[in-house]
């Protein structure tokens, strides 16, 4: 595990894969429609805090920049970036299982992706195309997704509890507290 990809217990993974000629439009449409049938498929990959797919067609160049020449990408690239809990190895194992339905339509449109786009071969492909972070910042990198969600839920419950129990005798509040927030 390269420490530059890690902040606390959080890992930042970034991969750039070249899109097959003629596949960019189909890939873009597929990714943009991913939410239509329901939640993001990334919600199935345990420990994922935030993730994105981005298609980069070119590096920007402006004649007013002092950059002597443009730098062209030979092919549009698919960027996959995810921030998650724990180590890369186990995460990619889970990702390659959980995204088995989507992967052929995503990385399957990229050069070099194994066919079928699944399992250890897909994992190796993503690892091969990983770009190490220079610096990865996580505001609460020590907190796992499970803890973040539980803490947010607890916060909401405490607000509701405080409202609900206003004015009750302490003994009643205590009993209700023990039920609402068991040790």
């Amino acid at each position: 595990m390269k420490s530059s990809n890690v902040s606390g217990q959080a890992y930042g993974f970034l991969a750039m894969t070249p899109i097959k000629p003629g596949q960019e439009a189909g890939l873009r449409a597929y990714l943009e429609d991913l939410r239509d049938p329901g939640p993001s498929p990334m919600s199935r990959v345990p420990g994922t805090h935030m993730a994105r797919w981005v298609i980069v067609e070119r590096f920007n160049w402006d004649p007013f920049y002092d950059q002597p020449e443009p730098d062209a990408l030979a092919l549009p690239m698919l960027i996959f970036s995810t921030c998650f809990d724990g180590g890369l190895d186990g995460y990619l194992d889970a990702l390659c299982v959980e995204l088995a339905a989507e992967a052929p339509f995503i990385w399957g449109r990229c050069i070099g992706c194994p066919d079928p786009a699944a399992g250890p071969a897909l994992k190796a492909y993503l690892e091969h195309n990983q770009i190490d972070c220079g610096f990865f910042f996580a505001a609460y990198g020590q907190a796992t997704l499970e803890r973040v969600r539980a803490s947010l839920d607890q916060r909401d419950r405490l607000i509701a509890f405080a409202t609900r129990t206003q004015g009750l005798p302490p003994a009643e509040i205590q009993r209700a507290f023990a039920l609402e927030f068991p040790r």
Binding site: S40, T48, H49, N60, G134, F137, R149, A171, F177
Partner: protein, 217 residues
Amino acid sequence: MGQLTGRGRVRILAAVSTAPPAGPITATGTSSRNVDGQAIAITVFSTIKWWGRLYLPVLFFLAKRVPWLTETLRKLSFIHFARWALVKEIPYNGPPQPRQTMRYAHMYFESNFNGGWEEYIDAFSHIMTPNMKVFFGSSYGFPGPLPVGPFKDYIHANETEASHYYSAYPDATITMVAGALALDDRLAPLRRDAAELDPTAFAAAYRRLLTDAQRWL
């Protein structure tokens, strides 16, 4: 054993009244594809001058190991995750991908934040002025963080829209997450001890909890 009245009651009401509104979405100023609930994705590539190849790895090394260099980033309290990467070459996957030697290195920057896109860049420019110079100073075309107008134009020009963006807790701002985690730490002792306290002691501990918790609710 009396009721929780007087100071205790006032504190409870104060705590509840400071609870954030449940729903207003603050994510504004960018394409809807860069947004998931409160969270916004920004993805930027900038082309690096020759000396940036040498300088940026040193900067990244120091940023990781010298916490005060990124203290402002933490204090801004609206960034969940951010990353910088120096892309010197594109991984090769065989034909039909041409082997490509890039003329320049490129810096990849992404952020996952909440609030408005405009306000985010404003804050970066005005509060993190030195940091922006440090991180983007080796990028071609970087106009400097101030005035903010040209800097926003620069980010816009170099930004790429996400095709799909996901947040596991889209309703939560970074302030809510940080507050919830702090509250968890603060609540844990009372959860542990509540059943063993007599009601008066519990009431006192509960009041203290709510007083402390006001800033996190």
